[in-house]
Symmetry: C3
Subunit: 255 residues, 3 copies
């Protein structure tokens, strides 16, 4: 099984699929091709949310603002999974989730010049994903063209600050529903379910479900990712709270 993730929109991902299907009969599963354009951090967040639900697979990931520069092309092996993509940090947070003890191994992919300077997804990463799939996640590193490396660009999500009185952090991503997903862990909110909390000086209900408030009303809740999320029942939380990715969020009990 090979999953595919990118910020390509269409039809570029289909070219990657064609290239893979020249070499492999793998099942292909799209994760998303509308990740925020060239936003490595948001893409890393979504990959960490979604890929751990999959059985062992090769995951092709192309969010690559540095395409054509000398950034490395990587295969990251983590548990029974392999991740294939650029060395810009996008693979790292999910790699820490897929393997035991947050461990993973990384390998550089030899890139022939003159591969296309603008479409490494098709010309470098898709062929590598097919090769890794056909050789097997356990065995691909015995092939020519893959070399172990200890130097991988890291990516960490910003750390929230949680005290007894308040939690502060920031919006990591806004999802398609308009929910503003923060880096504040859900347990900062769950004690307050049924009461109200202050979000950036505005008082809103803390609730376990969207539908616990009237349609159009704001709430703070804990999303499926386990983080605090600022939402509107049947509406857009980002607009109602005036929040976008990167904005600061301070949360405190409303006393």
């Amino acid at each position: 099984m090979i999953t595919l993730s990118s910020d390509f929109g269409t039809p570029y991902p289909a070219a990657m699929k064609g290239v893979i299907l020249q070499e492999s009969d793998a099942r292909l599963v799209d994760v998303a091709h509308d990740f925020p354009r060239q936003d490595v951090r948001a893409s890393a967040f979504w990959l960490r949310e979604v890929l751990p639900h999959f059985p062992p697979a090769v995951h092709l990931v192309v969010v690559d603002p540095g395409v054509g520069t000398d950034r490395d092309a990587l295969v990251v092996r983590s548990g029974d999974h392999a991740l294939v993509g650029p060395d810009n940090g996008v693979l790292v947070p999910v790699a820490r989730e897929l393997g035991p003890d947050e461990s993973f191994e990384a390998f550089t992919i030899a890139v022939d010049d003159p591969a296309s300077a603008t479409f490494h997804g098709r010309d470098v990463f898709a062929p590598a994903a097919a090769t890794v799939h056909e050789a097997g996640v356990e065995s691909f590193d015995g092939l020519d063209g893959f070399e172990a490396t200890d130097e991988v660009v890291d990516l960490a999500f910003p750390a929230p600050s949680v005290t007894a009185d308040a939690a502060s952090g920031e919006v990591l991503v806004v999802d398609g529903f308009g929910n503003a997903i923060t880096n504040v862990p859900g347990n900062a909110l769950t004690d307050h379910f049924g009461t109200r909390v202050t979000v950036n000086d505005e008082s809103v209900p803390a609730r376990r479900t969207y539908a616990a408030v009237d349609p159009g009303d704001r709430l703070a809740t804990v999303g499926s990712h386990g983080n605090v999320e600022l939402a509107v029942n049947q509406g857009r939380g980002d607009e109602a709270f005036g929040l976008a990715a990167g904005d600061e969020v301070v949360l405190s009990p409303d006393t």
Copy 2:
């Protein structure tokens, strides 16, 4: 085969696919993940249009504004098909189409607490769809966790009024081309093909094909769903007629 329909956008549907693929090798086919957000009626319309074209399958449907409330989770068996989704009516119109004589059977899905309160698609419906697929549409109800029920939330599309002089109804949905699809049956229009009709006091040609009028011109036609549709050849009917879902449409011969 398992089809997937939702209003999730991306990448949430991929998490559902991962969960299913942990339990099943079923072929997965996306129907759409951009149904109008939390619009149960529009989603029910599209499901009724599309799913009857499929061979026997399990159809996972998650359009669920009441997620996390005490609404039931359902499997609906209709002919050789099973539908899995929330008990809010979205499954009912298509269930009436898939089986003989508009009949179907419904079963509640036992939901463990504490499943995620915000993502039952991943945590309740996707596992249930995999279970139904693996056990078989004929047999799943012999398993623990599925209980027959006669109490299902119904959903009916509004009934049009058709007389010899006029037909009145409303816009059910607008499709991606901008065609305003009404609940008025096509046979109210077909007698007038080649002449003109009055739509909310404006005279437009009634034609069998979009291309029978010049690009940019309005027409009334009968869509692939069999209903009257208000359209523009190579343009957007919703904008040209000033119509949105829910708006009233009165149609009469232009004499």
Copy 3:
């Protein structure tokens, strides 16, 4: 394998998939369903870019502004591939790429009246694609309903003008990143990599990669399709250059 391309958005393509899966177990691969609406030329461009990357397959293509008129329905055989779609030119440029020596054969599909006048994708082309797939690309033309024809609507992309001093052409399509893709061949630019060129009287760097200029800066480069592309690193070239599909582009060395 059957690939699917259209300008349908969702959920119409799923109806085509259901119809195919009634007759065939073929692997289904989506190319794109958001081709520019009813834009035959842009769709032809993307098909020529993407389909040659696939192994032998049946390619279902429905971009069909003349649906319901008397335009023919076609199967085009080119090399080991078959293309199924309307006779409006959209299949021709890629057909010239898939076979040897730009050669291809065309066959009309018998269309039963009264197929739906508005959804031939579902009612004519999808069943034909399934039939061609099941009979085989080499053999389908022995079946009833397919008749060889020499009269096919042609489609040619506009020819650029390239001299020693300047190259002029036009924007063929804008991709999802906002890159304005022209019909000017890349070799008109590659000699100038590392220097500046004049694009419609404005001087910009000519570079091999987007990342060779600062984020937000404009450049002229050669895209993965081999043509000159006007772009912005991590931004939208169409907006920064004020260019849309069909606009003229004149390119000369900046001396």
